[in-house]
Amino acid sequence: GAGVSQTPSNKVTEKGKYVELRCDPISGHTALYWYRQSLGQGPEFLIYFQGTGAADDSGLPNDRFFAVRPEGSVSTLKIQRTERGDSAVYLCASSRGTGELFFGEGSRLTVL
């Protein structure tokens, strides 16, 4: 596919469980971003990768959140000991450096 792909599209989990969300960016895009969007709000920055390294992780809310991009392409956002407040749509975006972000359709996380 030509766009940013995110899986799963929906994830329901119980409080305290571990969750992984995957993002497959557009081929050739070196920059990758994770955002979180709560209902009725704008996307909130979490972390930015340039290649394999996390260039800016200042938006991660606490140490339960972690993200990797080991080969500079696919990225995984990992959330440990999920809490109800983590419920949101997690958006991934990639960029080729022109300023335009290409967003995926998101992974909707619901923590019961």
Binding site: A31, Y33, G42, P43, E44, A55, L91, S95, F103
Partner: protein, 111 residues
């Protein structure tokens, strides 16, 4: 700090015009505009750079007032397809395209 958008919501009849404003308390390098339809991903509209020109996408244009750290999005002769939530995203100098998004403006176009 999150940029402030106004209005929060607007309803237009097809063919009418609207202006959406975005204001930041920080010195900005650029302002980005995105449109998001319900249940879909945000879609890029345009970027306004500090020192740059007013931009246009179809019948949508935008301006950036660097002195006031404000941007305005102008929708003229609105079409049904313009419905959605509009977000401005602001970038500070050396921000690496890291955007801080506003709370959005919901636009509804009725026939």
């Amino acid at each position: 700090q999150q940029p402030v958008q106004s209005p929060q919501a607007v309803i237009l009849r097809e063919g009418e015009d609207a202006v959406i404003n975005c204001s930041s308390s920080k010195a900005l390098y650029s302002v980005h505009w995105y449109r998001q339809k319900h249940g879909e991903a945000p879609v890029f509209l345009m970027i306004l750079l500090k020192g740059g020109e007013q931009m246009r996408h179809e019948k949508i244009s935008a301006s950036f007032n660097e002195k006031k750290q404000q941007s305005s999005l102008y929708l003229t002769a609105s079409q049904l397809s313009y419905s959605g939530t509009y977000f401005c995203g602001t970038e500070v100098p050396f921000g690496n395209e890291k955007l801080t998004f506003g709370t959005g403006t919901r636009l509804t176009i009725i026939p």
